[in-house]
């Protein structure tokens, strides 16, 4: 089976697994990816929500803080950020929308230039800022949480609830802010391939450092590289693949492996 077909099967499997609540399977685990526990079909808890509840108003419920970190740590040390590329339903959504930003990049040179601008690399630190400020600091200080305005919550929680219960709910005070952020999220993923994963995803921010030490990673045999740049062109995260060396942004999707004409890019397991 081709690698990208395997990845599609994996993403479908995890999408279904994340929604087994629809047949009554609800658990006390945290997802090792981004998915909202307010989804009517959710099986488990959002790791971000667990951390927020744990730190909320400095009440320090250590178990709820440590638990998602332990899950993400155990998965991260094995496979790094592969979860983003192979399991996360929001990553799957962005895979589905990826043709449009690619097409835009070809049609509008400005977008391509913007993607190559040196500030783009700096913008990737935004997700760490989102994680620290909105998942840790504001819940401690004022009780305001990232999940109150989370666009993934709108997509997988609010919208399905509204569809399944027509006329039963009315918007609350956070609704319009969250809806505005959700619209920005949709615009972002339509303009920039994997825009959410690159700049804003707080779960991606938790996984990213594990790429540096994970068992599974991608290597390039530079001695045989012909510098065709096909790998970097195809990379959904916009990484300079030949020089990446365990880049925290790599989601191990394997597109670079598929496209390399010399077949010198491969998964390493240690």
């Amino acid at each position: 089976m081709k690698l990208q077909i395997k990845r599609l099967v994996s993403q479908l499997f995890f999408l279904i697994s994340a929604n087994l609540g629809a047949i009554g399977l609800k658990t006390g685990f945290c997802y090792p990816f981004f998915y909202c526990n307010a989804c009517p079909a959710a099986t488990s808890a959002c790791p971000i929500r667990s951390i927020e509840v744990g730190v909320s108003k400095a009440e320090w419920k250590w178990k709820l803080i440590l638990y998602p970190f332990a899950i993400i740590g155990a998965v991260g040390i094995i496979s790094g950020r592969a979860v983003c590329g192979w399991a996360c339903p929001i990553g799957f959504l962005q895979r589905a929308t990826s043709r449009f930003p690619r097409w835009l990049k070809q049609k509008i040179p400005f977008i391509k230039k913007l993607g190559q601008h040196k500030i783009e690399k700096k913008l990737r630190y935004t997700k760490y800022l989102v994680f620290i400020s909105l998942v840790i600091v504001t819940p401690i200080l004022v009780g305001f949480m990232f999940t109150d305005i989370c666009p993934v919550g709108v997509l997988t929680g609010t919208i399905p609830i509204l569809i399944l219960n027509p006329g039963k709910y009315i918007p609350n005070s956070f609704f319009y802010i969250a809806l505005f952020i959700f619209i920005l999220f949709i615009v972002l993923i339509l303009l920039i391939e994997r825009g959410w994963c690159r700049y804003f995803c707080p779960v991606g921010a938790m996984f990213a450092p594990f790429n540096k030490i994970s068992f599974l990673h991608i290597t390039v045999n530079l001695d045989k590289c012909i510098l065709c740049n096909a790998c970097s062109d195809v990379c959904p995260m916009g990484i300079d693949v030949p020089n990446m060396n365990r880049d925290p942004e790599c989601i191990l999707c394997g597109k670079c492996i598929d496209v390399c004409p010399k077949q010198i890019i491969k998964f390493e397991k240690v």
Binding site: I78, V154, P171, F174, F215, V270
Partner: protein, 210 residues
Amino acid sequence: MRRMFITQIALLIIFSSVFTGMVFFTDVYDEVYTRIVSVTCLSCIKLDPKTSSEFLFETATGENHPEFVLENLSRGPVFIAYRKDVCTYCDEMEPLIMSILNITFEKEDVFYKIINFKGNNITFIHINRDHASKVLTDSLHIYDKDKVNGVPMFTFVTINYDRDGVVKPYYTTLYAKLGLKNDEEIKNYLTKILEESISLYNDNKAGYKP
């Protein structure tokens, strides 16, 4: 290379031991399930349920009214407030309840108190799902008349004659901020429902056999 491998193995052991240890030797699995997965925080879904204050005889699950409610119903109407620890709307609603009933309590408290409200006895029961017993937390589903499965939830249990002429427990449930924006409106609405519960109770208590 060797040092990297040792680091990887060490970290894998640490993370997986912490995870398995927490699942098997602490109550974190249940805590995540009850606090986050099983009941929705209504402020988190960015929606308020549209609800009515219509009183009903039939509970949401078809089960009997819980024993702890029936015991207190012999004294007067019962008012139950359900919440979770982390719940923005619960934090906003509880000061209003304290002001109406003229009592104070902490959000973690699980208690019942008989209160004299405008010359009538009512029993106020505060249930924090993160700290209450299973019997108390399960009662949320019994009274979840609109199948919202979320907190904050407020239930008023009183008595009334049913079609067969038997006096039975009669309840209504309201959710979140009751679909109202203004604190004063919320207080007035809660007071109105309490008064209605008391009036029904006083009108029918002669025929009530607990």
